[in-house]
């Protein structure tokens, strides 16, 4: 049967794949029998750049790691440096930081649902999701002046503040957003043609997911109950109440369900944050020089756990900044997910794990 095998190249430029990675898929009939992955098309050497800039400048460098979850990267980095400096960030600063993180999560998940729908040929949902995503982007623009890169974090707090009118305005916009998000949850659970294409596709059993250290919605879609926000609370997450969504199915549909319901949780978190926002200052002054030491800082990005390792040698520049993004474990599960799927489902599986190759390559 080896004559019937076709090798299909997917990427690094491909209409199905918005991310620059390359797959060589061996297909027999309509079934994938083998896959080979190649990475590194958008390596920008950000970690090396970090070693040549000061701690303050690096905030803006790490914000460029990801185009969607830029804020969570700079938050995690600042968190690391603040731990090294033993700085106490004022609560209002932490609240604002978390607020942007949760908005970013809604933005990321809604955007992802749109991308998946577009790949399923469901352009209507793509249009709706990307339209409603604008609400979130508008809020973020109002908060920080930037739709995607916010430049809101500084070592020692945040550089943006909100007044009462803005809080009210944001709450109103969140009220408008809620029925839309509820509609997406409803869609994932009830739309039959959506389910026909996503159920049983890209299977990742719990054990395998655990073995590959899967994180974020990929892990939670396989029934692994992990969430850095709850397991090792950072920032002010220990003062907020939210539930961690898990679905046991382990397919693309499960990941969609996890993400759709997480947007509702994040919306609720945003409301808690706006309501409980304490008065006071938003930042403390940070020294330029950092005492020697090393630290690991973790937080829950929209795609899962992001880890920053920062080592200081006592100078103004870090000796090492190592970033581990949630896309890395997701990538290692892909060959398993792709095994035996229909060619029509390849883009669905690839979209299902929400790859961010720009993050993974850095």
């Amino acid at each position: 049967m080896s004559n019937d095998r076709i090798t299909i190249p997917i990427g690094p430029q491909h209409p199905a794949l918005k991310e620059p990675l390359s797959f060589m898929l061996t297909v027999e009939g309509e079934q994938v029998v083998d896959s080979a992955l190649r990475l590194g098309y958008v390596h920008r050497g950000l970690e090396r750049i970090c070693q040549r800039r000061s701690y303050v400048q690096n905030v803006h460098v790490v914000e460029r790691v990801c185009g969607i979850c830029s804020h969570v990267h700079s938050s995690t980095y600042c968190q690391a440096v603040e731990t090294l400096l033993e700085l106490e960030v004022p609560p209002r600063g932490l609240y604002l930081r978390a607020l942007l993180c949760e908005l970013e999560r809604i933005h990321s998940h809604v955007l992802w649902l749109g991308v998946l729908a577009e790949i399923l040929g469901f352009t209507t949902i793509f249009m709706y999701t990307w339209q409603d995503r604008e609400i979130v982007l508008d809020i973020m623009e109002e908060l920080s002046g930037g739709r995607v890169a916010h430049a809101a974090n500084i070592v020692g707090g945040v550089s943006i503040d909100v007044d009462e009118d803005q809080i009210e305005d944001i709450q109103e916009r969140l009220d408008n957003l809620e029925p839309q998000l509820a509609r997406f949850v409803d869609l994932v659970h009830n739309e039959r043609s959506f389910q026909a294409r996503t159920r049983g596709v890209g299977l990742l059993p719990t054990g395998v997911a655990r073995g590959h250290c899967a994180v974020g919605p990929t892990a939670r879609g396989s029934g692994i109950d992990v969430d850095v926000r709850r397991d090792t609370p950072y920032g002010i997450y220990d003062q907020l109440s939210f539930s961690v969504i898990t679905v046991d199915d382990g397919d693309v549909w499960a990941r969609a369900a996890v993400r759709a319901e997480e947007t509702m949780e994040s919306l609720d978190l945003c409301r808690q944050l706006l309501k409980g926002m304490p008065k006071g200052s938003i930042k403390t002054r940070a020294p330029r020089r950092v005492a020697a030491g090393e630290v690991v800082s973790r937080s829950e990005a929209p795609r899962g756990e992001v880890v920053y390792y920062v080592r200081s040698d006592g100078s103004e520049q870090p000796a090492r900044v190592k970033i581990r993004t949630p896309t890395l474990p997701a990538l290692s599960t892909l060959p398993i997910q792709l095994q035996g799927v229909n060619t029509a489902d390849i883009p669905v599986v690839l979209a299902g794990v929400d790859l961010c190759i720009a993050c993974a390559d850095r």
């Binding site: 076709i6 090798t7 299909i8 190249p9 209409p15 199905a16 309509e30 729908a117 577009e118 790949i119 399923l120 040929g121 469901f122 352009t123 209507t124 249009m127 709706y128 339209q131 739309e191 043609s193 959506f194 026909a196 294409r197 229909n342 060619t343 029509a344 489902d345 390849i346 883009p347």
Partner: protein, 312 residues
């Protein structure tokens, strides 16, 4: 001389090429506009389809090495020709230009021809995506075509004639076929969606999976002809269903026949547009299952019902 001019007019202007061309562009615009409004977009201006066509005609025409040059040039023309020929048998109120007893079968054959050329285009244009797309096109053809043909014979059996004109005449005497065979009408619409490769049955040209399917390697004039063929096929398919199920041009409200025919065609076009934004694309194996497990038995039931009605 007079007769020759009249034939030329029929072929080139009405109801031949020009009329069909204008209809194709108009229908395409309405389709795109309706879909856009339903998706919360604004949609293109009315001249966009024409602009797209002109732009494609002006583009460079290239084919990859290894593609069969002659065949790739002939296939779009052949499919366009078969669709144009089919249109000559379809009555637009009154009588089709070439109408004869048995023209329904000719039309169905001519409308099936593009599916074959589409498949061949995939195989001969030397690209992985187009080969997969071609395979899918053929699989899809086998899934929707049998039920489609079965339900289209319903009106013919009931009216006792294989002539489309005769079927229309029967409906104006008795009643619209859609009232007698509502199930047949629904199945015919689904079959038409499959035939036109429209969403959610755009499996052979699924853009997020296999580029543009069989047409991936086509560009310029050839692609323009392929698109034109597809849009004209939409028009001819809709006209055919109007004649077979919605009683042709008669509306019974004292309106001119042309208005009635246009309204009915727009109604079917509207159904197609709405369906295209409502669902996610099916997978080819799901379509095959759907075609043979759901559509075919239903079409068979519809046929038996028609025979039973005929006996009474």
């Amino acid at each position: 001389m007079r007769a020759f001019l009249s034939v030329l007019f029929t072929l080139l202007i009405f109801p031949g090429f020009l009329f069909l061309f204008v209809c194709a562009l108009t229908f395409q615009w309405i389709d795109r506009k309706v879909a856009a409004r339903l998706q919360g977009r604004i949609g293109p201006p009315w001249f966009q389809p024409l602009a797209d066509f002109i732009k494609l005609m002006a583009k460079e025409d290239i084919l990859p090495t290894g593609a069969h040059k002659t065949a790739c040039a002939l296939l779009p023309m052949l499919s366009l020709a078969s669709v144009l020929t089919a249109s000559l048998y379809i009555p637009l109120g009154g009588k089709g230009v070439n109408a004869f007893e048995g023209d329904l079968i000719v039309v169905l054959f001519l409308l099936s021809l593009p599916a074959l050329t589409y498949f061949l285009a995939g195989w001969l244009s030397a690209s992985v995506y187009s080969i997969i797309g071609g395979n899918r096109a053929l699989l899809q053809y086998f899934s929707y075509e049998v039920p489609f043909l079965m339900v289209l014979t319903g009106p013919a059996v009931l009216s006792g004639s294989w002539s489309i004109t005769e079927i229309v005449a029967w409906q104006s005497r008795a009643m619209w076929m859609v009232l007698v065979q509502p199930l047949g009408f629904i199945l015919a619409i689904i079959g038409l969606i499959g035939k036109l490769k429209r969403n959610p049955l755009d499996i052979p040209k699924a853009k997020s999976e296999i580029g543009a399917g069989p047409l991936t390697e086509f560009s310029g004039r050839k692609l323009a002809l392929w698109y034109l063929m597809l849009y004209m096929k939409t028009v001819v398919g809709i006209f055919l269903l109007v004649n077979l199920f919605l009683g042709g041009s008669g509306l019974g409200l004292g309106l001119p026949g042309a208005v009635g025919f246009a309204l009915k065609s727009l109604f079917i076009l509207l159904i197609l547009s709405v369906v295209s934004v409502l669902y996610a694309r099916l997978r080819i194996d799901q379509l095959a299952n759907f075609g043979w497990r759901v559509l075919a038995p239903l079409a068979l039931a519809q046929m038996l019902m028609v025979v039973w009605i005929g006996v009474i």
